[in-house]
């Protein structure tokens, strides 16, 4: 059983007649921390949307732990153990921080659409929710509506919701976008902490974050993987430097 945690085979996606993803191949091993980088408009977020089932790919195959998930609905993919965060904060604004996390725990504990159990009496849900709320450092804010939190707090909550269900594969879409330097440092620490033992795929623009966290990096340009390798290999890759890195690390 050595199937990659996540595998993409010749994935294509066009919107109308505009191709966005042009045959992406990607294999991410279990436990790997993988960063996807690339210039704006390279198709990074679209790739995440295809993997997580927000829209189906035009062609190609996506496999999670060796099983095809191509074209499944988002909730079905999530139930198979893949969770994602969003580039633009995507939480439940009128629910409290605690409720946000608790809702994200429910399905994984098998409570599904239960309307015959009192949610407050579910000990396993309570324990898991409290664990997550404390991990993301929002205990003091647990009863506040999520919509009134600060931006950095909402980003932490976004990660909390993503990991709460215990998915084995975590997709983070620009988790540190718009953060100050110190907030970014905290966020990296949080991500490192909560994704231990899991497979992490992230889209990120901050090269400090990428090179600090990732085991491997794929460079996406014009909907194609231009290069893939360890951070050192990517740093040394001439084509990558020319296409992308040169503008930011020179």
């Amino acid at each position: 059983m050595n199937a990659p945690a996540l595998e993409l085979r010749q994935v294509h996606k066009s919107f109308g007649r505009t191709p966005i993803i042009n045959g992406v191949d990607l294999a991410i091993a279990k436990g790997e921390r993988h960063a996807i980088i690339g210039p704006n408009g390279a198709g990074k977020s679209t790739l995440f949307n295809l993997i997580s089932g927000r829209f189906p790919p035009s062609s190609g195959q996506i496999l999670l732990d060796g099983e095809a998930i191509t074209g499944l609905d988002a909730q079905d993919i999530n139930r198979r153990g893949l969770a994602r965060s969003f580039q633009i904060t995507n939480i439940f604004p009128r629910l409290s921080v605690y409720e946000n996390v608790r809702c994200a725990v429910l399905w994984s504990r098998g409570y599904r659409y239960s309307f015959w159990q009192r949610i407050g009496a579910l000990e396993d849900v309570r324990a898991r929710t409290e664990e997550i709320v404390s991990k993301i450092g929002l205990i003091a804010r647990r009863d506040r509506p999520a919509g009134v939190l600060s931006y950095a707090e909402q980003r932490a909550l976004e990660i909390g919701i993503t990991i709460a269900g215990g998915a084995g594969v975590i997709l983070l879409d620009e988790p540190t976008a718009g953060m100050s330097r110190s907030e970014t440092r905290d966020a990296v620490e949080l991500i490192r902490n909560v994704t231990q033992g899991k497979t992490l795929v992230m889209v990120e623009h901050d090269m400090g974050v990428v090179f600090g966290l990732a085991d491997r990096i794929s460079v996406l340009v014009y909907g194609r993987v231009l290069a893939a390798g360890t951070p050192d290999e990517i740093r040394g890759n001439a084509a990558v430097r020319e296409a992308y890195l040169g503008t930011e690390t020179a």
């Binding site: 139930r79 009128r94 629910l95 409720e99 429910l106």
Partner: protein
């Protein structure tokens, strides 16, 4: 400081006590029938709010489930009367509930495929469709006259014949109380919480494993069940069901109840149901223009208290607890007085206008409060117009201090809430 569970139990106990004792306080016949109407409206409005407040589904057709439940109950009651089979009348609302559930499960399967504006439009379409079939299928709906029935069927059980209205009232109270508790309990379940999540952000709900369509569908089924219970009680109470009961106007009425009471709080629709039922029967006995006043009241609520009475209560409760209410009081008193003048002028104008179109032989002179007015005299019009204009001016001028006070209180509430 008592525990929240204790306070909740005390609140439920007090509610039950009030409902049981009310008929001892209001002894007149019309009061009892109004109270019965309120009990039914409470169940109906709470079931509506499972959709609007808790799941974010704006329905223009919720009366379909109330009305169909009521029709099925009327036929059941008639079948019992004809001796075809027997169930106790006490349990008849359950038949209504199951009928509501059945129609919710079938019609709702179509409506809940979408949310937002499409859901609202489809629910309106379904309501029109059912209302239209009410005239096309007279066998089930009884045509224009509806289905009449008689609740006194079967032998009286321990004197419980449901002949006297007081027995019907207590039947309604029992079902109302059970339904309130059940609907509150539903908010405390995984499905109840996911309904809130789907209301806030259906897209995100998918990525934590939930199918928002399924959540909406299940909530609509349950809401239809309770609407059907209310319908069944309606059948027992009024002993007639007509096409009006499934119509768009009835659906609009329950929407107004929920909105006026406040959709953001569980107890909001209870207040709305009580208030709107009261206005509907009390105002209509005072003036023919009651629908106009009712409409103005609704517009006023939407403009000045969009969160409904429930949110007024909770926000002011906070302000009082934190000792901030005295900042609001002067503005409220001034605004309140100006508002009274405005309302007096408005009533005078409306009633004068109504008298113009009236061809009653009762004579054209009438009284608004202590003042005699006559539509043929220009002085009456001038006086009414003057009071109205003055009231309007004073009221608008009084709003600014209220608003300033509010802003300062709000800032403080938020600051302390965050601490």
């Amino acid at each position: 400081m008592r525990s929240p569970t204790f306070r909740r139990l005390a609140l439920w106990g007090a509610t039950a006590l009030v409902m049981v004792l009310l008929p001892l306080v209001f002894r007149q016949g019309f009061a009892l029938s109004m109270l019965s109407q309120m009990g039914i409206a409470i169940i109906f409005a709470l079931s509506y709010n499972m959709l609007l407040g808790q799941t974010g589904l704006l329905s223009f057709g919720h009366a379909v489930y109330y009305g169909l439940g009521a029709y099925v109950c009327a036929h059941t009651l008639n079948a019992i009367g004809a001796g075809k089979f027997h169930i106790p009348v006490t349990l008849l609302p359950l038949v209504g509930g199951l009928a509501g559930l059945f129609f919710g499960a079938t019609l709702g399967y179509v409506t809940t495929r979408r949310a937002g504006t499409p859901f609202a439009m489809i629910s309106l379409g379904i309501a029109e469709m059912v209302a239209a079939s009410a005239l096309m299928l007279p066998g089930f709906f009884g045509g224009e006259g509806g289905i009449a029935t008689n609740r006194q069927v079967g032998a009286a059980w321990h004197g419980l014949s449901y002949g006297p209205q007081i027995q019907v009232y207590y039947l309604i109270v029992a079902w109302c109380f059970l339904s309130m508790i059940a609907m509150f309990a539903l908010t405390q379940t995984p499905l109840g919480r996911m309904a809130n999540a789907v209301r806030d952000n259906p897209e995100r709900a998918k990525f934590i494993g939930y199918n928002p369509t399924r959540v909406r569908y299940l909530v609509l089924c349950l809401a239809s069940f309770f609407a059907g219970i209310a319908g069944g009680l309606g059948t027992i109470n009024y002993e007639i069901v007509t096409a009006e009961n499934v119509g768009v106007a009835a659906s609009g009425s329950v929407l107004i109840m929920a909105f006026v009471g406040g959709v953001g709080h569980f107890f909001g629709p209870i207040i709305g149901a009580v208030l709107v039922s009261f206005l509907q029967s009390a105002l209509s006995s005072y003036t023919q223009a009651w629908l106009l006043y009712f409409g103005l009241f609704f517009v006023f609520m939407i403009m000045f208290a969009p969160g409904g009475i429930a949110s007024l209560i909770t926000v002011h409760g906070q302000a009082v607890r934190m000792g901030l209410f005295k900042r609001l009081l002067p503005g409220y008193v001034a605004s309140g007085l100006a508002f009274l003048v405005l309302v007096a002028g408005l009533i005078a104008l409306v009633e004068l206008t109504y008298q113009l179109s009236e061809t009653s032989e009762l004579g054209k002179q009438f009284k608004v409060f202590w003042l005699a007015l006559e539509p043929s005299k220009w002085t009456s019009w001038a006086l009414a117009g003057f009071v109205f204009a003055m009231g309007l001016g004073l009221f608008l001028a009084s709003l600014r201090p209220v608003r300033t006070a509010w802003q300062s209180v709000n800032v403080e509430l938020q600051a302390r809430g965050a601490a």
